[in-house]
Every structure is written in C-alpha cells, then in structure tokens.
C-alpha cells in the first residue's frame, strides 16, 4: 500500500473518531470522505489482493450482506464487511481500510454506485436481489438503475452473478452476463414490474412467474428456489428456520445462501446453520426500552415494497403498531407512497401515527378506516399503546431510534 494511502487511512480514522466523540454520527461517511480526498485511488488499494463480493438491491441488501458474511465465517473464512450500512465509495473505503487482513470482502453497495465500484474493487461476484421504486424524488425511476446494472454485466465477462430470477428488472439487467446462478425468490411486490423491461409490452404474471407474450422475455429456470421456509438446491432441500422475522428475511437468506453455496462452495447445511440464530442486523429488529419498562421492537421500512412486507408480517399478530415517518432526503421527500401501502392490514390493532409526517400518516389511516392516535414522538407513542409494541420507521426515524445498537 502506498504511503499516500496509509496517510489517507490514518487521517480518515481521525476524522471518524472526531465525528463519533462529538456525537455527529457513526463516523463512517466522514472518515471515508477524508480518505478518498487524500487518496482517490484508495478503493483500488484497499480492495487489491482480496476476493470482493458486492451485494445490491432496493430492499434487503444490508441483511443479505450480513447473512452472506456469516455463512462464510461459519465455514472458517475470515470476512470483512461494511456492516454499518455505509454503502457508497467513502463507506466502502473506510470499512476496508479499517480491516486490512481478511482476504474476502462482502460489501453492500448502493444500487446506483454498483457500476462505479466494480472495477476499483476488481469484484469477482455480484449478488443482486430486487429493484423496486424507492425515493423517486431523489433517484428517479427503477429503469435507470436496471440500465446501469446491465452495462456492468455486459462489460465484465469474468464477473460471476448470483441473482433473483423472480424480478424482471434484475433478470433483464443480468441478461448479458455469462456466469449466472439464478435463485427464484418469488415476487410479492409486482407493482413496479407491469411492463417488459426488454420490449415494454405488458408482462403476463398469470402463472405466478413472469413472461412477455410479445418478445419472449421470461423468468429463467432457476436451480435454486425459495419454497416457503425451505431453500431448494440442486442437492436437496435446506430448512431455513431463521430467527430473523418475516418472509422478506427468508428471501434475503435464500439469496445469501445461494451465493455462499454456488459461488464460494460452502456446504449448504453448514452455511444455513451459520445464519439461523442471527437475531439482529445493523439495528434492524433491535429493541428500545420504553419509559414503563417494556421493550418496543424497531423495524425499518424504506419504500412501498418494504412497508407491504412488514405489514403482512404484522397483520396476524396482536401487537400494537407505531408508524414513524419522516420525509427528509434519506426517507424520500415525497410521502405519496403512503397511499401505495395497504395500511388497512392494521385495522383493529392499536395504532399510532408518528414522526415528523405524523399528519400525512394519520390522513392516510383515516381514509383507510384504521383507527389511530397521533403522537409525533415515536417512543412516547409506543409508551401509550398496550401490550407488545412494534415501531415501523422510515430511514431517518430508524437511524435516530436505533443509534447505539448497531
């Protein structure tokens, strides 16, 4: 490593420390920015000599990254990872610079940054989950990301890909790749995949898989497949039996296990055992102690697909629910999506509309006939609801509520 790179790492760490002790943040972003300002080729340097796997998706990338890292560790492979969720170049440089030893890096990368980091990191594997609408005011539409992923796959013939066969945008992105392992995760959220990514005709979803009658674009046959609680592999069926809640985490686990098994050659049972007992990932599913001594569970929901999955999971339970929504840049400044999410699933539960945009949530609940109270402070709201409480939070509410538990 060059002297300049070593200086950059030192200065970056100092800046990160300063950010943490002054309480401004986790320090990862600022530390990475300082590093890249001093040594712009730092990603090349900290990535070189390692096997780098990149994990990306609209939803589930942090959890999938952690699960893949754990599956590899369970096989005795030392792994470094950007476990705080800092997933742009600065965060990647900081994470890799902090941990120079391990020969394998499993890195969560923001969807939009994938094309910019594949070459500097000399990545050998892309793990791609799903593409749905997310913060339209900030990033534009699903299509533009699919186009960029497709360019990467087409221009890197040696890049292996493990990808979700059930997501039309992902499948179209991956089409030009030569080394692909498909895993069919199922498609609970189809609202962003009405038209064919190849020819723009209407997609036919009638067989529970997608097919375009106009151009023949269709769901590829997948050797790996999620079937309820089970990952079906070419060698047999693996019970997931996860401690993490919800259908969405089974999808994350199936994707991570497919990468561990098919690409890294880890024994399937061993890999599954390695992730089974994980209970919390970067604050997701962590708890906060309430004033009256109860614990409230905190979940992150970033976009309509994510919210819908969380609500489906909550619907059959008898928990109270706090909906904590902000609309800062990182949440998406336009909360129109509240009307794309089936909050009606919460009818009959004790519900609080909360966060800076509590009134937007309250009006949405009112038109959905969901009775609720309005309390902007989510912890006070949780304290006012009976029994077990789950707080479902948008991004900036979530980071605020879970600070210290990452």
């Amino acid at each position: 490593m060059s002297l300049r790179a070593r200086v950059a790492l030192g200065a970056g760490r100092a800046a990160g420390w300063a950010s943490r002790v002054t309480g401004r943040g986790a320090g990862t972003q600022v530390s990475g920015r300082v590093m890249l300002a001093i040594a712009p080729d730092l990603l090349e340097q900290v990535g070189s000599g390692r096997r780098c796997a990149i994990v990306s998706a609209t939803n589930g990338k942090t959890t999938t990254t952690r699960l893949l890292a754990e599956a590899l560790r369970s096989a005795g492979i030392p792994v470094t990872s950007n476990h705080t969720g800092a997933n742009m170049p600065a965060g990647l440089a900081a994470a890799l610079g902090r941990d120079p030893e391990p020969r394998v890096a499993v890195l969560e990368v923001d969807e939009r940054w994938v094309p910019r980091v594949v070459d500097p990191l000399a990545a050998e594997l892309l793990v791609l989950g799903n593409l749905t609408r997310d913060q339209l005011d900030r990033f534009g539409e699903v299509r533009s990301i699919a186009v960029r992923w497709r360019e990467v796959c087409g221009s890197h013939p040696n890049l292996a890909v493990v990808a979700n066969a059930s997501d039309p945008h992902v499948v179209w992105s991956v089409e030009p790749a030569t080394d692909v392992t498909w895993v069919a995760l199922g498609a609970p959220w189809r609202s962003d995949a009405a038209t064919c990514p190849r020819c723009a005709a209407l997609l036919d979803w009638s067989a529970d898989t997608f097919a375009c009658r106009a151009c023949g674009f269709a769901q590829p046959d997948a050797p790996y497949r999620l079937d309820g609680e089970v990952l079906v592999t070419p060698e047999g069926r693996i019970d997931l039996d996860l401690a993490l809640p919800g259908a969405w985490n089974r999808m994350n686990a199936a994707l991570a296990l497919t990468a561990a098994i098919a690409h890294f050659g880890i024994d399937a049972e061993r890999a599954a055992a390695g992730i089974r007992d994980l209970e919390m990932v970067s604050g997701r599913f962590s708890t906060r102690r309430l004033a009256d001594g109860r614990d409230a569970r905190v979940l992150l929901a970033k976009n309509p697909a994510g919210w819908t999955e969380v609500l489906r999971w909550l619907a059959p339970t008898d928990t109270s629910v706090v909906l904590a929504v902000n609309a800062h840049l990182a949440d998406g400044r336009d909360p129109s999506w509240l009307f794309d999410v089936p909050y009606e699933l919460l009818r009959g539960k004790p519900v609080a509309a909360s966060g800076e945009r509590a009134l937007d949530v309250a009006v949405r609940l009112d038109y959905g006939d969901v009775s609720h109270v309005v309390e902007r402070d989510p912890l006070r709201a949780a304290n006012g609801l009976p029994g077990e409480v789950v707080v479902v939070a948008s991004y900036t509410q979530f980071t605020h509520l879970t600070r210290g538990s990452w």
């Binding site: 005011d137 539409e141 299509r143 038209t195 336009d334 009307f339 009134l359 009006v363 009112d366 309005v374």
Partner: protein, 260 residues
C-alpha cells in the same frame, strides 16, 4: 343526490399509471361518497383491457416512461368509449403522466414525440432537469376552491393551446413549467368536467374541496354535506406553511442570483 346505482370511480391502468400513490385519489373519492351515505366503488381497469364507457370518474395517474407509452396505446384504442362517457357527463381527473396523455402530444423517454388522447389541446416536451418539491396553486376563481397543496416530480414541460385554461396559478413550485404570456406560471388544465394537474401527494387527500368539486360534478350538486376534516385541515396548514417557507427561500436565492 339520490342515485340508483353506486358512483363508479374508475382507476385507469393502476399497474401502469400508479407510481405516486395515485390509488389514494380513488380511495378519497369513494370514502367521501360513503361518508355521505352515497354508495360508491372503485373500478380498476387493468392494463391491456379496453376502457368501459360506463364509469362516472376516470382517474389517470403518473407512471414511468415505458408504462406511459403502454398506457397511451391502450387509451387511444379506447378513445371512442371515453368520448361516449364524457358525452354522458363523466368526469376526467388526470395527474402528471396522466395529464400529459390527455393532450395532443408528448415526448416519450427516448425523445420520440407520441400522440396523446387529444381530449384537450396541450403539448408536453422534456425539459431540462426535473421539477421536484412542494407546490402551491391558487385555483381558477370560477372553481371557488381554496389554495391547493401538493408535491410534484416530473421532467415534462406542458404548454397549453390557445384558449385552453389552466387549473390555477402556481405560487410555489413549477407546475406546467412553462411561463405564460403574462409571465405567470400555471399548473394543469381545466376544461368541461376535466381537470389535469402535476400535483400529487396524492392531491385529493390534501385538498378535500377539490375532491368534492369532482363529486359535485358527478352527483349534480354544489352543496355536498361538509365532512369533519379536522386531520386534513391540520395537514393542509402544515404543508402550506412549509411550502411558503420554501418558496420564500427560493425567491431570495433567485434575487441573489440575478444581482450576481
């Protein structure tokens, strides 16, 4: 206000034109009927199906580029049905991409200029940069509506044909994004029982009197029973306050820029 059949609120191609919570507009219309004891239902027209001529309200929402092209193709094939429905008094309410599709032509994502439905004379072309943020619109005085609040996110610039009037004048934000001859910025379009706008948020939950205007057209009355909209009023006050702060900041920034 007595009707024999339920009010039929048509949600046109929600899988193509539903990117910005547009279902919310249908939900609000149905709920505001029910709360007044008027039966109402949402009728979803799935993409690929012809538009029926039997709906009371046709809601067209926003969509991504490819979806907009598909929706346009389906709608052109159904334009006779839509003409029949409008002849019978049906109401058209269109948001964002839906507004663009009502016009004579619009530019697709790849730059091609495509025919719209031609219900009103307006043209949309791509502009430089997207218009994103809170919008405030003072509606045409003939509508007797209060100030409209919404959120916009679009790259289109929409020019109204001669003699075609807008929904209102923009006081914060961009709306159609094309200055009129008097220098004012306007939003949307207003014609006989037809309203188009760039405002989502969605727009009807935030602006109950606009929702009631549409329902009044359907039900043939301008005296709908008021509903207890306390929450909505709080939300409106909050949004309008935020948007005006933003507007003032933007104007100060512009002044600084023009002074150089």
């Amino acid at each position: 206000m007595t009707r024999e059949s339920p009010v039929r609120i048509g949600l046109v191609y929600p899988d193509l034109l539903g990117t910005y919570g547009d279902r919310g507009n249908a939900l609000v219309l149905v709920e505001r009927c029910r709360r007044r004891g008027v039966e109402a239902e949402i009728v979803e027209v799935a993409a690929g199906e012809p538009l029926p001529d039997s709906l009371d309200v046709y809601l067209f929402g926003g969509g991504e580029d490819d979806a907009q092209v598909m929706a346009a193709a389906g709608m052109r094939a159904s334009s006779a049905a839509l003409d029949r429905a409008r002849g019978g008094g049906a109401v058209v309410f269109a948001v964002c991409a839906g507004l663009q599709l009502l016009g004579t032509s619009y530019a697709a994502g790849d730059g091609d200029v495509l025919d719209g439905l031609g219900l009103v004379e307006l043209e949309t072309r791509a502009g430089e940069g997207r218009c994103i943020g809170e919008v405030v619109v003072e509606p045409d005085p003939s509508l007797r509506l209060r100030t409209l609040t919404g959120f916009e996110n679009h790259g289109g610039r929409t020019r109204l044909g001669p003699g075609v009037g807008p929904l209102g004048r923009v006081t914060v934000g961009h709306g159609n994004g094309v200055p009129e001859s008097d220098g004012a910025t306007v939003d949307g379009v207003l014609a006989d029982r037809l309203i188009g706008t760039y405002l989502h948020g969605p727009v009807l939950p935030r602006n109950p009197d606009l929702a009631d205007l549409l329902l009044g057209w359907v039900l043939g009355t301008d005296a709908l029973t008021p509903l207890g909209d306390t929450l909505v009023e709080e939300l409106r006050a909050e949004r309008l306050h935020e948007a005006r702060l933003r507007g003032r900041r933007a104007r100060r920034r512009d002044r600084r820029l023009t002074r150089g």
